[in-house]
Symmetry: C2
Subunit: 326 residues, 2 copies
């Protein structure tokens, strides 16, 4: 069986033809350029799908369907993107728009389904089906990128919750009376380890006169600060960078420890740009969680890095289609 997986992010959109063993037969990547309008993005999807199916010599009619992970809040039944600030979208009927655009470019009637879900959930599903979490039943994926997203699988099912917003781990409070978050909370996890917040806090500290080697490292163009740069600064002993990373490690460890205590999961998978930039983050989290041998859940959980990297999205999106057909 073959399916098409689409990973629709703010910067780029990845598309792949995948078989039901989780092997990528062909793939492509294009700029999302959502500022050019929804229809431009839809065209990008139609062209990309044409390219990757032609590359495999398969017809689009041989596809079991198209799965899409989109960065934002999604209605998994209607396939509408309800709110996606990074794409600048509100109430975009993605499934309908893509289906009718594909139908227009195909002379024969299309009859496959299109499934749309939140990107972090789709990536989690990818790791669960084909990646680090293969064979596990209950696991949590935490992705630390610009912000912090997560997907939770309980006994083989994605935790969705009443309003389909379960798993907002980035907005759990880890520091009572900490920094004020856009969400209205004080002390959200995301504020202490999300890449965007690490950058913004560095800029704030520097602007308020704090000494650091970071400005020189980015040739005084502070907008160029990235988690990689901050990690290099930490390795060179910069006190500001060390302080920020120590906080990131501390609060991420508390969040992982608490999720472990609540879910008693088999595995917690950490991924995203901040985890790959700062190689000492994962080992510190593991050591902190494992330091408590009295709580059985903390003793037994496996904490690992994601396996699929940038392919997790397209693989998870295609897997949604295969699972629908089982």
């Amino acid at each position: 069986m073959f399916g098409i997986g689409v990973d629709l992010g703010a910067t780029s959109v990845r598309m792949a033809v995948v078989n039901d063993q989780g092997e990528i037969m062909s793939k492509t990547r294009r700029w999302t350029e959502s500022q050019r309008g929804v229809h431009n993005v839809i065209n990008t999807l139609v062209e990309g799908i044409k390219e990757i199916t032609e590359e495999t010599s398969l017809s689009i009619h041989e596809m079991a369907g198209i799965g899409i992970g989109a960065a934002g809040q999604v209605h998994p039944v209607t396939g509408e993107v309800i709110f996606a600030p990074n794409l600048g979208w509100e109430h975009v009927p993605l499934k309908e728009l893509l289906f009718s655009a594909l139908q227009k470019s195909n002379p024969t009637r299309l009859s496959f389904p299109i499934l749309v879900d939140n990107d972090v959930r789709v990536v989690t599903w990818g790791e669960y089906k084909y990646g680090a979490g293969k064979g596990k039943n209950t696991l949590i994926c935490i992705f630390v990128g610009s912000g912090v997203g997560s997907g939770i699988i309980v006994e083989g099912k994605l935790l969705r919750g009443r309003d389909n917003v379960a798993g907002e781990v980035g907005h759990t409070i880890v520091k009572p009376d900490g920094f004020l978050c856009n969400c209205g909370n004080k002390g959200c996890l995301e504020l202490y380890c999300g890449g965007l917040h690490l950058k913004n806090r560095t800029i704030r500290e520097i602007n308020s006169g704090r000494k650091s080697i970071v400005p020189e490292m980015v040739e005084y163009k502070l907008e160029r600060i990235t988690p990689e740069i901050l990690h290099q600064a930490q390795e060179r002993g910069d006190p500001l960078a060390c302080e920020l990373w120590n906080e990131a490690k501390h609060y991420l460890s508390i969040a992982v420890a608490n999720l472990t205590t609540i879910f008693n999961p088999e595995m917690i998978i950490l991924g995203g740009g901040v985890i790959t930039s700062c190689r000492s983050l994962l080992p510190t989290v593991v050591a902190t969680v494992k330091s408590n041998i009295h709580l059985l859940a903390r003793n037994s959980v496996e904490i690992v890095e994601s396996h699929l990297g940038d392919d997790a999205g397209v693989l998870g999106a295609a897997a949604m289609i295969f699972d629908e057909f089982k």
Copy 2:
């Protein structure tokens, strides 16, 4: 259909004959006196079960089974109580012992099942089937008594986790670098709102010279301090009691807010002696969680007090039997 529900606590054991509509046909309560040995407790159960079945004029053979909620860590398949510090039990094969004792006191062969589970999970199941959570799919019960226990139901199933220890909400960290807990963590929820810890902290503060009206209220017998006493002291404006309750409210609110953000549940049910002693605790938690209208999960969750009170355990225990037979 009829079943027997048993709520085996450290102080008392409650037993009831329940029908499958969740109505109690007869019930009794006896002292547990676990210090007199396991066989004494088994005898108490056998006698109590005899009494309540006779009272309904039903034979024990007409029972669909016996469900037991026991205070401690339980193996739900073997029915063994693995570790129950409050009962002073370790590796007690409760299911086997009760079955063979009942068989001895009955001339004809017994053929019904006995199910044993953790007391907080059983109480949660009771609230879900017949109490505050009736008709809900995803809910969390938090019981604030001496310690803090919880049960989590996701899409109609109890969350158990890899080692059957999911839901240890009392040992989630709510105050980083807070008090050291017996479990090895620092800043566990239980340390800020569990009744035993409120009492111990009051005694510690008084012994270190802190002024308070509490000692006078308990005639200088500090071991008599209860959540009720502390609540009366708060109402009379005692600064120590006010400080402790404010902390309890603050950290319980954070825990409830975080569980809401993680699970996006339909309902959170709060129960237990500390909740009923301090009537301002629940409204404060509700107000704090609802103060964030930006997070949809916090906006939509219902936060209520448990409905079944002391009957939740026997009802939930009997319901386990009915659900097994569905």
